[in-house]
């Protein structure tokens, strides 16, 4: 899941600046589950921007999917066209898809934080950096690239204390977790293997996949 967080309302108002007619667009998937861009949050935003002229709202099923966005914007085309700017309550992908599809000013209402696991609503943990070269088979199913701040590949640095990370003593040391997990599942031999430097060429942005 793409984990998002609401931007401070003052920042949103500053970015809307001179725009008077505002269209508010949510996200029916990740941001709905995150409670940052669902029907309720769109309503809430309408109230927070009471000094503006809110010309319409919609919560497309997946604003990051151009085909679905096109379908879900059709019924609101008239009000959307009347807007000076579209405030998008979705991840950065949604904002850019809306801008690309409509050609209008699309502004972010959320900050995109990370790809994460949902423990419960309001409790999200980053688990994947989308590095393009998954090594979870080598590390007991725990990602050191994401969960070790230094992205170490050959075991923990000497900064762990009570199983916690030197960077933040409230977070677990990823490599102590990996060690314990791999010991439990009988994979210590694999833990001991030397892992070569990563190939960053394969994760150079912008990434794209186009089937031939």
């Amino acid at each position: 899941m793409i984990i998002t967080e609401k931007k401070p309302i003052d920042d949103i108002k500053a970015s809307l600046n001179e725009s008077k007619k505002i269209f508010i667009l949510g996200c029916g998937t990740c941001a709905t589950l995150n409670q940052t861009g669902g029907e309720e949050q769109v309503k809430e935003m309408t109230k927070l921007l009471s000094e503006k002229d809110i010309v319409g709202t919609v919560v497309p099923e997946t604003p990051c999917d151009k085909r679905v966005l096109k379908r879900d914007l059709r019924p609101v085309a008239a009000s959307l066209n009347a807007a000076d700017a579209i405030l998008v309550l979705s991840c950065g992908v949604g904002v850019q898809t809306v801008a690309e599809l409509t050609g209008k000013i699309a502004l972010p209402g959320l900050n995109t934080r990370f790809i994460g696991m949902v423990e419960r609503i309001g409790e999200f943990y980053q688990r994947c950096l989308a590095c393009s070269d998954c090594i979870l088979d080598e590390t007991g199913g725990i990602c050191p690239i994401t969960r070790c701040p230094k992205g170490l590949l050959n075991g923990p640095c000497a900064g762990h204390m009570d199983g916690k990370c030197e960077v933040n003593r409230e977070k677990d040391c990823a490599w102590v977790l990996i060690y314990k997990r791999m010991k439990d599942i009988g994979q210590l031999d694999k833990f001991k293997a030397f892992r070569k430097p990563r190939n960053y060429q394969i994760s150079t942005s912008p990434q794209q996949i186009v089937w031939k």
Binding site: K150, N154, V167, W175, K192
Partner: protein
């Protein structure tokens, strides 16, 4: 037999080797650190020169090492971390180190960037310390860089790493030391040690490894410092008795050094190669500690 450095020679031929540590100046002038080098010159075989320690900006390690060696004759151990440079920068600095006459290198991962004075900077960590050791091994043994491209003249450095005997769990640290030794590490300097029983256990656990251990020695200067270290420094275990002695001592620095003399007398018979004495920003105390240890006849 020829040795790359005085440090290598001392580790091979002396009963007990002592190294020190200096921090490059937060300054564009080398003078302050040269004074420190002169203070410890006769007490240590070589001195580490730290690399933006605790992620604070100071003068480049490479330049500091070179100027210390050139102007004081004290041999240096060039500390290199993976935090601030990618694999291109690291390799070019290693080639430069050799060209500047530096003989020893100590490879570290490096403290995380948010711990220092530029917490908003982008951390690098392109390589980890084991991978950097691998690149040095390839440069030295195969005369190629990490891309496999030929080096006209390979570097010839005596290579070390860090180790922390007080970590819990300890097994990942031992595995990591095994990897480092596989990658050409000949000596390892440890985290500050206060409890000889921690080291005794650790030395038993690494007896299969061909690596010289220099035990980290940092005199405690007050009970407050001791408590702070226990709380904040991973793997530092300080017996309560030491904290009590510091509280009661009238001259705390003298007591702190005396306790280190006692620790060294206990660890000297444990198959350790020697000690690594470090007191951040206080070269005078490094000299004082080494002199007290030597005078005691503990080593």
């Amino acid at each position: 037999m020829s040795f790359i450095s005085s440090l290598e020679k001392s580790l091979a031929t002396s009963k007990f080797t002592i190294t020190g540590e200096l921090t490059p100046p937060k300054s564009a002038s080398i003078e302050d650190v040269l004074d420190g080098a002169k203070l410890i010159k006769d007490d240590v075989v070589a001195t580490n020169v730290t690399d933006n320690p605790t992620s604070r900006v100071v003068m480049s390690t490479l330049a500091t090492c070179h100027l210390i060696e050139k102007q004081t004759g004290l041999e240096t151990i060039y500390q290199i971390t993976c935090r601030d440079r990618n694999r291109l920068a690291l390799q070019s600095d290693i080639l430069a180190a050799n060209a500047l006459g530096i003989k020893n290198i100590l490879v570290l991962t490096g403290d995380y960037i948010t711990m220092g004075d530029h917490p908003e900077a982008k951390p690098v960590f392109d390589l980890d310390s084991v991978q950097l050791l691998w690149s040095i091994k390839r440069m030295q043994e195969e005369s190629v860089d990490l891309a496999g491209k030929k080096l006209k003249t390979p570097p010839k450095l005596f290579v070390g790493a860090a180790v922390n005997p007080g970590l819990d769990p300890i097994e990942p640290e031992i595995i990591r030391l095994e990897k480092k030794v596989d990658m050409g590490v000949k000596f390892a300097q440890s985290q500050c040690l206060y409890d000889p029983s921690v080291l005794e256990k650790f030395m038993g656990q690494i007896s299969h490894l061909d690596v010289k251990i220099l035990v980290g020695i940092t005199p405690l200067l007050s009970a407050g410092m001791a408590k702070w270290m226990v709380k904040n420094c991973p793997g530092v275990i300080i017996p309560d008795e030491m904290i009590k002695r510091l509280k009661e001592a009238e001259d705390k620095v003298k007591e702190g050094i005396e306790m280190m003399v006692e620790v060294v007398s206990k660890i000297a018979p444990m198959k350790v190669a020697g000690i690594h004495v470090m007191v951040p920003e206080r070269a005078d105390l490094v000299a004082q500690t080494v002199k007290a240890i030597k005078a005691s006849g503990a080593v």
